[in-house]
């Protein structure tokens, strides 16, 4: 399952997508430690898989929460994507 966390508003589309099939197969969940904001958390989803999700409190402000990792001059890599070796995480912006 592709779980999209985030929103779209007048300024654009801001979603962090997590491929839960790949995520469930990863035991370590290194993205949780890698995110400097601590936005990721481990949950048991509706189909009883242990996966990561974006914490509820960050879902409506990810554009701003992710901003320190995405400087205006552009970004090359992101800690969460770098840490996720199953390549389950993508950002829409």
């Amino acid at each position: 399952m592709i779980a999209n966390y985030g929103y779209m508003d007048g300024s654009g589309e801001f979603f962090i997508s997590i491929d839960t099939d790949k995520c469930a197969a990863c035991k370590d969940k290194p993205c949780i430690q890698a995110c400097p904001k601590g936005m990721f958390e481990k949950i048991i989803d509706d189909y009883d898989d242990e996966v990561v999700a974006i914490k509820e409190i960050y879902r409506k402000s990810i554009k701003y929460e992710c901003a320190p990792c995405k400087p205006a001059k552009g970004w090359i890599s992101l800690p969460c994507i770098e840490a996720c070796y199953p390549k389950a995480i993508t950002h829409s912006w």
Partner: protein, 291 residues
């Protein structure tokens, strides 16, 4: 003070008179406590038996209890007779008598699969204060979802605001918006407050109420279509939630997508609670087969 609230839709309940819960092996219930409305669904051996839809109050446990009471009204059924209850919706974690909470995303997919059959692949749930685009497989399992709950644009609450502003009963909005012959440009689709201001300005310019309603329905359709396009729309396409009853919005979504939404005899507003009841039924079956 106004003597009528035009946004106020009617609460209701329904029961299948041909079914008898005393003969059922599994009595399962699903309760969807949404931000604007709450539904309770009772299923007997996986078949729809009774349901209710009421307005959500300020207290989730009370709303859940009221919805359940309305659903079992006149059946002779009590809470003790129900084997398993699954809660869903915004208030799902605050339903004291639910055995488990499951997200409304999974429940809507399961509910739409029941209503529309295994061909359903894309679901648009237009709820009271959010909008969800869901893709599922032939069993109703979610494979992709997207939810927008950052503002009321593209939601039932936004429609309620416009109903009250224009003093048009909410049930009439869809049909009246289609009585306009021309294609009307949309009002703001990023903010209900802006849309409301725009609607007021258009009325002052001399637009008819129906034309303003058409502009708002168009805005809502454009808003949700951008959400759907992100998950990509695949046939068959199914719409759930209260706004599915607004023909003006549905027709405009269909036109923008170039796809006709599936028709159903079921009440589209109960999809979440129905999915929750299906999950409850499956859990009871699993527990019994493991015992």
């Amino acid at each position: 003070m106004r003597d009528r609230e035009f946004w106020r839709w009617k609460e209701y309940n329904w029961r299948n008179p041909d079914m008898d819960w005393r003969k059922a092996e599994i009595i399962a219930a699903g309760i969807d406590v949404g931000s604007v409305s709450s539904q309770a669904v009772i299923m007997l051996d996986g078949e729809l038996y009774a349901y209710s839809s009421i307005r959500t109050g300020s207290n989730s446990p009370d709303s859940a209890k009221k919805a359940m009471d309305r659903a079992i009204e006149g059946t002779g059924l009590t809470m003790d007779n129900i084997h398993y209850i699954v809660g869903t919706g915004y208030g799902r974690v605050n339903i004291p008598f639910a055995n488990r909470a499951i997200t409304e995303i999974a429940c809507h997919a399961r509910g739409a699969n029941y209503m529309g059959g295994p061909k359903v692949r894309t679901i648009l749930d237009m709820g009271g204060q959010d909008c969800k685009a869901i893709k599922c497989d032939e069993k109703g399992k979610v494979i992709n979802f997207l939810m927008n709950d950052k503002c009321a644009a593209g939601t039932g609450r936004g429609m309620e605001v416009i109903a009250d502003l224009l003093a048009v009963p909410i049930e009439e909005i869809g049909q009246r918006s289609l009585e306009v012959d021309e294609d009307v440009p949309a009002v703001s689709n990023v903010c209900v407050v802006f849309a409301k201001s725009e609607a007021m300005a258009l009325m002052k310019e001399g637009w008819s109420k129906n034309k303003v309603l058409a502009a708002y329905c168009q805005a809502m359709a454009e808003r949700v279509v951008t959400l759907l396009e992100r998950v990509t729309v695949e046939r068959e396409f199914f719409i759930t939630g209260g706004i599915a009853k607004n023909i003006g919005v549905v027709k405009r979504i269909e036109k923008l997508l170039g796809i006709e939404a599936m028709k159903t005899d079921y009440d589209s507003q109960i999809a979440g609670a129905l999915g929750a009841a299906l999950f409850a039924t499956a859990i009871v079956k699993k527990e019994r087969s493991a015992a």
